[in-house]
């Protein structure tokens, strides 16, 4: 009987992760070269639709591994489900895309079975009877061919883009889908999933701001940033900073202007207590109008400022806020 290759298809929230097609392409190529049987599996709760979709591709069989405990995703439940499944189906090779989810559960699964995983591969080679999987080392400067010496199943993950997902072969008639119900003990799941983290869309896009109020070291203390914030609000602008402020953690990094931060070109740039080192200037010199407030009349910021206020920003800024508010109320 030939050996079996199993491709694990990934789903998140009941949606197929399309990078799975790349792993399936790899599986089809390997199956063609080795003459082994290619099967696929999807793990989840109520994911038969995905299994059916996969069954439309050139595979011998698709397993729909089901348990209500597999939704929401937890590494414990996935590892337990797959361990149970693999103990009866015993494929030689298990192929997966190198996704965050796979990176999360594969070490646990492989370790609990006493097996090895070769991860983040960019290809494979067949030399005689030996299968070699290629991994990058030294940030891609070297490639290492790695082979398994231990018992099957052998776990392999492929780097995103290593195979062409659009080259996955379809089948003339759908493959059979077998539902496998796995039994996962409540106590096996130690993870408590929280609400799914959605990357906050960047709260601030300084490059689009028309008015920017930027603070520098002259602001002295974190609590003083409040007055700059008030000025920004009064003007309807965004708050930004030079590097020392973000380095101290007083404002987030995405508000840093300069050579190690963002480059901006607003209509109005107010520099409060910013000396104007070249590293800052290169990030904002494209501003149409620059107003600088600084105690030091020799601060280099004044060389590029259109309006220079030599004075203590703690006197000037509150007065400015008042005037802006008055002007707005009057207008």
């Amino acid at each position: 009987m030939p050996e079996t290759i199993l491709v694990l298809v990934e789903q998140r929230e009941g949606k197929l992760n399309r990078v799975s097609w790349e792993a399936l392409t790899a599986g089809q190529a390997l199956a063609a070269e080795t003459g082994w049987t290619l099967e696929a599996a999807v793990v989840g709760s109520g994911v038969s639709g995905i299994a059916t979709e996969v069954a439309g591709k050139k595979v011998a069989k698709v397993y729909d591994i089901e348990s209500p405990k597999l939704q929401p995703y937890t590494p414990d439940a996935f590892a337990a489900a797959l361990k149970q499944f693999l103990s009866s189906s015993s494929p030689k090779l298990v192929l997966m895309p190198h996704t965050y989810q796979v990176r999360d559960f594969i070490p646990k699964l492989a370790t609990s079975m006493g097996r090895t995983a070769i991860t983040d591969c960019i290809g494979y080679k067949k030399e005689g009877d030996k299968l070699l999987f290629t991994r990058q080392m030294f940030q891609g400067k070297l490639a290492a061919d790695v082979s398994f010496t231990g018992d099957a199943p052998w776990f392999v993950t492929f780097q995103n883009g290593a195979f062409r997902g659009d080259k996955v072969e379809a089948a003339p008639s759908p493959a059979p889908v077998e539902t496998v119900n796995v039994d996962i003990q409540e106590s096996a799941i130690r993870n408590k999933p929280q609400e799914i983290f959605k990357e906050a869309k960047q709260a601030v896009d300084l490059t689009q701001a028309e008015i920017i109020v930027a603070v520098g070291r002259g602001i002295k203390e974190q609590k003083n940033i409040e007055i700059a914030k008030q000025l920004a609000e009064a003007l309807g602008g965004e708050l930004a900073a030079s590097r020392p402020i973000c380095d101290s953690g007083w404002l987030p990094m995405d508000r840093q202007i300069g050579s190690s931060g963002q480059t901006v070109a607003p209509k109005l740039y107010l520099a409060l207590g910013i000396s104007g080192a070249i590293q800052h200037i290169v990030g904002m010199k494209g501003a149409r109008t620059i107003i600088a407030i600084n105690k030091d009349s020799e601060a280099p910021i004044f060389e590029i400022a259109d309006y220079a206020i030599v004075g203590n920003l703690f006197d000037v800024v509150p007065a400015l806020i008042e005037e802006v508010k008055k002007a707005k109320a009057g207008g």
Binding site: M137, F138, Q139, K141, L142, R243, D247, M253, S259, S260, A277, I278, Q279, V282, E298, P300, E303
Partner: protein
Amino acid sequence: MLVFRKPLQNVDHPEMPADIVIVGGGPAGMACALRLSQLIDEHNARNPDAELSKENIYVLEKAREIGQHCLSGALLDPRSMRELLPGFEKEAPLDAEVTKESVYFLTKTGKLKFPITPPPLRDHGNYVISINRFTKWLGSKVEETGITIFTGFAGSELLYDGNRIIGVRTDDKGVDKQNQPKSNFEPGYDLKAKVVILAEGTRGSLTKQLINKFNLDKDRNPQTYGQGIKELWEVPAGRIAAGEVIYTMGWPLTSREYGGAWIYGGKNNIVSLGFVTDLDYPDPRLDPHHVLQDFKQHPFVARLLEGGKMIRYGAKSLPYGGWWAIPPVSGDGWMILGDSAGFLNSQRLKGIHLAIKSGMLAAETAFEALAKNDASAAHLSSYQERVENSWIKDELWKVRNFHQGFEHGFWSGMFHAVIQQITGGRGLHDRYPASPGYKRMKKLADLPPDGGDEAHLLGPAKGDGKLTFDKLTDLYHSGTKHEEDQPAHLIIHDTNLCEERCVKEYGGPCQHFCPANVYELIDDSTAPNGKRISLNPSNCVHCKTCDIHDPYQIITWVPPEGGGGPNYDGM
């Protein structure tokens, strides 16, 4: 809150076997790799049945590209290059052959030309080069041989088996400001090597570990250092010829500091100029960057640069200690090359040719170790012997006491230099002692509050934006860049000492001697003396001055994440 880089615990490091690992891809490391390749080629031609492979010879270079961290004046004495690659002049990037040299003693506004150029400063036959371009070229020759250069990888730790060096660990990638792994974390590799060759440049971080572990500086003079600050200028045509070399002594330094300037005319109206200040000056407020800015204001220099444009900036430390300060250069599994060992002729201000020669000699020993499969201390000691029997020793022996003669000021130094010149380098005694430069720093209480004669050298330079520049503006022209989200690679072992004692006793010399504004003392009413130490590690130009010169010796420079650092294009 400062968090310093330290090795992460409980991390598996992937291992890779190697024959030879060379840490540092400067002139010494590249020459070593190239010579190794030549020896292996010759061997394989003679022994087709017992070929040696170059596949497992690796060069680690922390810069993103070859040569990007290389800085020097530079003048190349071609002696070693002619041995390594006869006829190299035809293909190497050389700016010009030196055709004219002069030496001046400067006073504040005047200058005194030496009637004859002192023999050590005669440079006819040497070449003005950009060490950055030269090393890039040398590196491309190495790459052609099939030896792998890992750019963007630093050697961060030595691997030991008992007292034997068995390899090098590369830097961990993807560690955040709090010293925690990020999602792109990649642990360093353990390169297990038969021979580890340290060619890290001045004050190498692994070399320092090795010297400390085995007390290699025992019975040696302490190493002493200078700090060179360099600017590259583009000047109007006709100011200085390509191949013209000018050295100056004197102003802006007083007779209590040792140092001097160079001005080299390169191709296309590019001028390399810089000032080397010895790191043994008495006043902790002295700022070597300020010294260069003062120097440029001398009418002689200002006229040369007028209407020109500063295009690049950088800084480097250099080992001045000479022959008596060189540690044993080989041991069980290791060898030390170039500036890391201290192969620099302080009288001629030249080290590149010695670095290359030391790399070649180490290659011969490493090749034998490979062929005989014996990298023991006994075997590698042949490198030590090769150095002692080579012209490296001949050249350094003659000047073995030169630099120490200047410890008591310029005029006494000149006196000793003359005596040594007529006694074959011996001078008044056989071995002039030395003391580490940081110990010569005086406390503020023992110095005139206004700085006295040195007042013009103290504190930050202001800069007019044309001829002179403040430090941050200069720094911008070094092209320095690092991954920002990483722990500080300047490890201050006791920050309380900075704030409680140093601020009071020395006024925080780190903020002055650092040429890159890494160290700052910020007003803070909660700090014991009103100042808090703050670091800007991503400004660092990797000169190691802080590691060398802090008066309490509590700073350790370790490599930041590989790939970061200055960009010394054309320097």
